[in-house]
Symmetry: C3
Subunit: 342 residues, 3 copies
């Protein structure tokens, strides 16, 4: 049961509406007009709920579930279950995500500008924005239609946000041009000064950092991340890329579209990353490297050389993932053989 203090629930929706939202076909004879109330996990779903079964290890839960509707794959649909309506999806998790957003859309709480927001007279806001208490919008900033700027967020001079962006509380954005539908978690800092330390005869100096941050449409950034602006060029994040919490993106990094960065990953300066790259949690990528399209970097890997398109790497230093597994097996066997008594 969703906690209604936190999550207003739309609906109920008919089975037909639910299937349509996920572009699924209703099975013959299914009651397209019957209404369902919410989404829920297999274990706690009632006959009025929609659930999902996408992992064969949960077959027992599927078999016992009281869910009224279960989204699953053609293959898993053949397993024993409890009589709920089955919706078959090529990609059940994706279909269920779409259904979840039908019941629980991301929406503005209270459009309007809070009296304590500090909006510079030269800034422009689109229609239907929500700007919460204490938010700051600097000179010449341009905020698109339907944006939500949460409490105490600070949008610097000249920053551009496309329509439908959601900026969390205490976010700081400067020196950035941001597309439409971008969501930024609380506490994240975008456009901070890159780490351009140079060593000279009189000690360390930080060079001027006069590039920007360019963020494409539909990018999602988590909480307490840091995304530095470029030094001379720009830092770029391609459209649809998804970034988890506490991720560091260095200056001049150029990231393609539809990449995934898990929590606490870090990308050093001037790295170039292609499209559809998956980066695991706590991965580090050294500066000036290139990571090709569709590459996969396993969690906690330390990448110290280029990664080819489609390559999967793991380890520290990162090597092809199969090599890493073999190395680990080799190490484990070696110490069993060599030091039996310890």
């Amino acid at each position: 049961m969703v906690d209604s203090r936190f999550f207003p629930t739309l609906g109920p929706f008919t089975l037909g509406e639910i299937a349509a939202r996920a572009q699924l076909t209703l099975p013959d004879g299914a009651p397209g007009e019957r209404k369902f109330r919410d989404i829920a996990p297999l274990e706690s779903a009632s006959a009025e709920d929609v659930s999902v079964f996408s992992d064969a290890r949960l077959a027992a839960s599927f078999a016992a579930s009281h869910a009224g509707v279960i989204v699953t794959s053609a293959k898993l649909a053949g397993l024993p279950h409890n009589g709920g309506h089955i919706l078959v999806a090529r990609d059940p998790r994706f279909a269920f995500a779409a259904i979840g957003l039908l019941f629980h859309p991301r929406s503005l709480d209270k459009p309007g500008l809070h009296a304590t927001a500090e909006i510079d007279p030269s800034a422009t806001l689109g229609v239907g924005c929500q700007v919460d208490s204490g938010a700051v919008i600097g000179p010449e900033a341009r905020i698109g239609d339907g944006c939500h700027i949460s409490s105490h967020a600070v949008i610097g001079a000249g920053v551009v946000l496309g329509a439908g962006c959601c900026v969390g509380a205490n976010v700081v954005i400067s020196h950035a041009l941001i597309g439409a539908g971008v969501r930024i978690g609380s506490g994240t800092v975008i456009g901070g000064e890159g780490f351009g330390v140079v060593l000279g005869p009189t000690g360390l100096m930080c060079s001027a950092q006069i590039g920007r941050v360019l963020i494409g449409d539909a990018v999602r950034i988590g909480g307490n991340c840091t995304i530095d602006r470029g030094a001379l060029a720009d830092t770029v994040i391609g459209q649809g890329t998804m970034i988890d919490n506490l991720v560091q993106i260095g200056h001049n990094v150029c990231i393609g579209s539809n990449c995934i960065f898990a929590g606490q990953a870090g990308v050093a300066g001037s790295v170039t990353i292609g499209d559809n790259v998956m980066v695991g949690g706590q991965v580090a990528i050294s500066d000036h490297l290139t990571v090709g399209t569709n590459a996969r970097i396993a969690g906690k890997a330390g990448v110290m050389r280029d990664v080819a398109a489609g390559e999967a790497v793991a380890g520290y230093p990162a090597v092809p993932v199969r090599q890493w597994h073999r190395q680990n097996v080799f190490l484990g066997r070696s110490v069993q053989k060599t030091t039996p008594g310890t």
Copy 2:
């Protein structure tokens, strides 16, 4: 000497009061009415200070210390020292911590609600709270007695805080039910959207995250952490668990009581962790794993399989800690043997 600009000091307290606070027995003939002024390290303590000696490597400091009172163990008490009064404790560090809080309790600065705090009329606050400038408390939030909400903290709609909580500056809390006596460091984000990325035919999508964060009594969370709310279920942190700075807790993670997480540790989604687990700094725990009660995970380990109750692991990938040490010895010897000239 404590800097009085930052730390008001209570006292002085008598030796009897000091021993009582730490549940220690006064030795025969000790001057229970004599007063002492503060705590201090062995090296700088004066005859009016209380100090602690818990590490045999500091025996020289113990021998030379001018501290008026020294808390130590029965074993260490036999080493040479300079004549201060000795209080023997089964656990000297724990006893000294209790004595430190006698002189330096955590207390409210100025109870009351600052004029610039934005407290929704439907929120309820207990008695004796301190709400600092610019803090935001949302609709229907319930704040217990004696809570301290620091400047610019943002407490979202419906959030519940038990009595005696301390929320740092610029903290963001949403979608959370929090127990009594919880302390949260500045800049931490609790209840942000979990990282539920699913891949489908039209690209990446983030599923609705409609769970909560449930935090038990007496939990301590450091600064700039991120603790995501659950996807369908809840993210749970058991009572008395202690979390350092910059720690990431993913959605649906379930953590037991009295665990310790050192700085920059990260727990991926849907991990289950038992009671009394110790997690070192920069540890990563992969998603959907189980870590048993009393397990110990060494600093920087990358946990990629379940950890049994009581097991101690280290390395990346994490293996039993003795195996890891043997692997490291093996590797060091191997390169000495195989590449003598390099």
Copy 3:
């Protein structure tokens, strides 16, 4: 081309002024009175721009660049190029950084105290400060001349900042004495309670943390860092040390001068670090260790023993960097030999 929405540009400056700023000698016959407009990368620089060539791998860009002035080394100056004026520097990157700051100095936007800043009557501010909206300056704090305190930054009671400090938005500083010319990135927390967890018969307890943070002149700290105050002694950061984003510095850590910490590095409690130490990204240093002057710790290393002065280490656990490379070669060869078919 610098984006003028974000970066006002001073100048133009004559070649003579440019050379003088970087303490470079004008070549014979160079047009010292000719003016230049900005800095730019080799690839996009025009005849009115100054650029830099410091990496032989970019020789093709040097050969083709239209830059009016190029700063380079004596060695690289001999490579083919396109006719721009050459300024030879012993350290081209350092010289170019100085020139960049000539065109793009870090300066205050709008000196003055914003009406919504909350400055305690007992705090003192030097001349020419800028305090932005919602910033909080606590009782008895002392802020030097020409400081910039950005929006929603919270400067706690008694904190001292030297002249010319720049404090980012949403920064939290408490229990700290900070030198002149210190720059602190947005979202950073300085002076939070150290992680002093002690285990006793009744569970975990956090000891009082009654030390301070002492930061030397010209230190640079990135965004969303956490620097804890000391437990009984102080946490110390020496002058000129440069710290990137998301770095954790534990309680009682003592860091020398002119050190470099890359992003997401973490230093556990009571570590002592000498001068000129370089710490790579995501490095972890275990508690109570000593790292000598001029040591170098490679990215992602896990340091679990003392590091000698001048030593270079890498790996987890960290070993001498040459040993680490040999270990990695050994591992790679071992699995090729032992498991050819997999």
